[in-house]
C-alpha cells in the first residue's frame, strides 16, 4: 500500500496524477480503479489538506469509488449521471496532465530572457491637474470600496457544499448497492470449488465497504464544518493538522 510522504499536492488531480504516474499507467478507468485505495488512504491520513480543499478531494474520491465498484462488481449498473462523472474525471485528468507538461515550458522560460520596458523618466515635471471628482466625499467612498473588496472572508462556493451533501446520499446508495451485490455474490460463489478466490473476492469487497464508510465520514465532517459559518479564506492556506485526525 502507498505510504504517505511529506509531499504536498496542489489538489486532488495533482495527487491522482502522481499516483498513476508512479505506477507508470495510462489514464483510463482501469488505472483509476487501481489507484483508488492509494488515493483514499492518502486523503485519510494526510494532515496537509486544508479544510477548504478537502471537499474537492472528497468529490474526486466518490468518482473513484464508483469506478472501483464497477470493476469489483461488473453487474453493478451505473446511472447515466455516474457514467458521465467517470468520463469527466478522465478528461479532466488528461487536461491537467497536459497543463503540467506545458508548465515545463513556462518554468524553463520564466525570467530567463526578460524583455525590458523603458525605464520611466526620472525627471517628471508635474503639472497640477486635478479633476472635479476629487472631493472628500468621493475619496471617502473610494476608500470604502477598496476596503469592501478585500477578500477577507469568502464562503465556500455553494455549488460545492451542495455537491458534498448529495455525495453523502450517493455514497449511502452505493454502500447499499455494494452490500446487495455482496449478498448475491455469496450465493453465486457458494457452489463453486474455487473457495479461495471467493473469499479473496469477498474480503476485497468488505474492505472496500469499509473504505466507503471512511469517505462517508469525511463528507459528513466537511459538511458540518460548513453548516454554521463561512469558511475563512485565511484558513484555507494554513495547513491544519487537526482536521486530518478528525476523520
Amino acid at each position: 500500500m502507498w505510504k504517505v510522504k511529506t509531499e504536498v499536492f496542489e489538489g486532488p488531480l495533482d495527487l491522482l496524477l502522481s499516483l498513476i504516474e508512479k505506477r507508470k499507467l495510462f489514464i483510463n478507468d482501469i488505472s483509476l480503479s487501481k489507484v483508488t485505495d492509494d488515493y483514499i488512504n492518502h486523503i485519510q491520513s494526510s494532515s496537509q489538506i486544508a479544510l477548504g480543499d478537502r471537499a474537492h478531494f472528497i468529490l474526486i474520491a466518490s468518482t473513484l469509488l464508483l469506478i472501483k465498484s464497477k470493476s469489483l462488481l461488473p453487474t453493478l449498473t451505473l446511472t447515466e449521471e455516474e457514467q458521465i462523472s467517470i468520463e469527466d474525471l478522465e478528461l479532466r485528468l488528461k487536461e491537467y496532465k497536459r497543463i503540467k507538461e506545458l508548465g515545463v515550458h513556462v518554468r524553463e522560460r520564466f525570467g530567463k530572457n526578460i524583455l525590458f520596458a523603458k525605464t520611466p523618466s526620472k525627471n517628471i515635471a508635474p503639472v497640477f491637474s486635478p479633476e472635479e471628482r476629487i472631493t472628500t466625499k468621493n475619496i471617502w467612498s473610494a476608500i470604502k470600496d477598496v476596503l469592501n473588496n478585500i477578500p477577507k472572508i469568502e464562503a465556500l462556493p455553494k455549488a460545492i457544499v451542495q455537491k458534498v451533501i448529495s455525495l453523502e446520499e450517493m455514497i449511502e446508495r452505493l454502500t447499499d448497492r455494494v452490500k446487495q451485490c455482496l449478498k448475491m455474490s455469496f450465493k453465486d460463489f457458494s457452489g463453486t470449488t474455487k473457495s479461495v478466490s471467493r473469499e479473496d473476492r469477498i474480503n476485497i469487497i468488505v474492505s472496500f465497504l469499509a473504505m466507503l464508510e471512511l469517505v462517508k465520514q469525511g463528507i459528513i465532517s466537511v459538511h458540518q464544518e460548513n453548516k454554521n459559518t463561512d469558511i475563512q479564506m485565511e484558513t484555507e492556506s494554513i495547513s491544519t493538522p487537526s482536521y486530518g485526525t478528525q476523520i
Binding site: E80, E87, L102, H105, V106, L115, A117, P120, P151, M233
Partner: protein
C-alpha cells in the same frame, strides 16, 4: 510612412501598453490603418534592439531578447523569479488557455485558486478582463509583464501554443458531441 513614424513615437513616449483603438483615436485614423502600420513596424524591428510586443489588443515597445543578458547586468531592479508549484500551474493555464475565468482555472486544477490568482495579480503577471457575457464574472489573461518574463513578443510564440489551441477546439467539439449523444440517449 508617416503613420508608422507617428505610432513609433507614440509608443516610445507613452512607455505603457496602449490599445490599438486608442492609437486610432489619437491619430484620427481607421483602426485597420493602425493594424497595417503595426505589421510594418513589427517587421522593421525584427533585427533591432527594440521590439514591438503585442498582447491582445494592446501594444508596447520593449528590448530585444538578444539584449536580455546585457540589460539584466545593468538593471538595479530586483527581479523575483520564484513562482512555486501552484503559481506555475495557474500561470501555465492563463498563458495557454487565457482569457479564462477563475471557475475554469479551479476546475482544471481541481482546487480553489483565488489566493494564487490574487498573488499573480499583485505581481502584475496576470490581469482581469471583462467577461464576454458582460456580467460580473471576470476572466484572466497574461500581462505585458508576463510576456516580458517569458521573453516572447506575442503569446503565439509560446512553445506548442498553436497545437494547444487546436486541442482546445477538439475538446470543446467532443464535449458538445458527447452532450448531444447523451441527450439522444434519454
Amino acid at each position: 510612412m508617416k503613420i508608422d513614424l507617428q505610432i513609433e513615437a507614440l509608443l516610445f513616449f507613452k512607455n505603457e501598453p496602449i490599445k490599438v483603438k486608442k492609437i486610432a483615436t489619437i491619430l484620427e485614423v481607421e483602426e485597420s490603418a493602425v493594424d497595417e502600420a503595426i505589421k510594418r513596424l513589427t517587421e522593421s524591428f525584427k533585427e533591432r534592439g527594440i521590439r514591438l510586443m503585442q498582447n491582445g489588443e494592446e501594444i508596447m515597445l520593449v528590448t530585444a531578447p538578444e539584449a536580455s543578458e546585457l540589460i539584466e547586468k545593468i538593471t538595479k531592479e530586483e527581479l523575483t523569479r520564484d513562482l512555486g508549484k501552484a503559481g506555475l500551474e495557474v500561470l501555465s493555464i492563463i498563458l495557454y488557455k487565457g482569457p479564462i475565468s477563475r471557475r475554469d482555472i479551479d476546475y482544471i486544477r481541481g482546487v480553489n485558486s483565488s489566493f494564487i490568482i490574487r498573488n499573480l495579480l499583485v505581481r502584475g503577471l496576470v490581469e482581469k478582463t471583462d467577461s464576454k457575457e458582460g456580467d460580473r464574472s471576470f476572466t484572466y489573461k497574461p500581462t505585458f509583464e508576463l510576456l516580458s518574463f517569458m521573453g516572447i513578443e506575442k503569446i503565439e510564440d509560446m512553445p506548442e501554443y498553436n497545437s494547444v489551441q487546436k486541442e482546445i477546439e477538439n475538446i470543446t467539439e467532443t464535449e458538445i458531441k458527447t452532450k448531444t449523444e447523451n441527450q439522444d440517449g434519454e
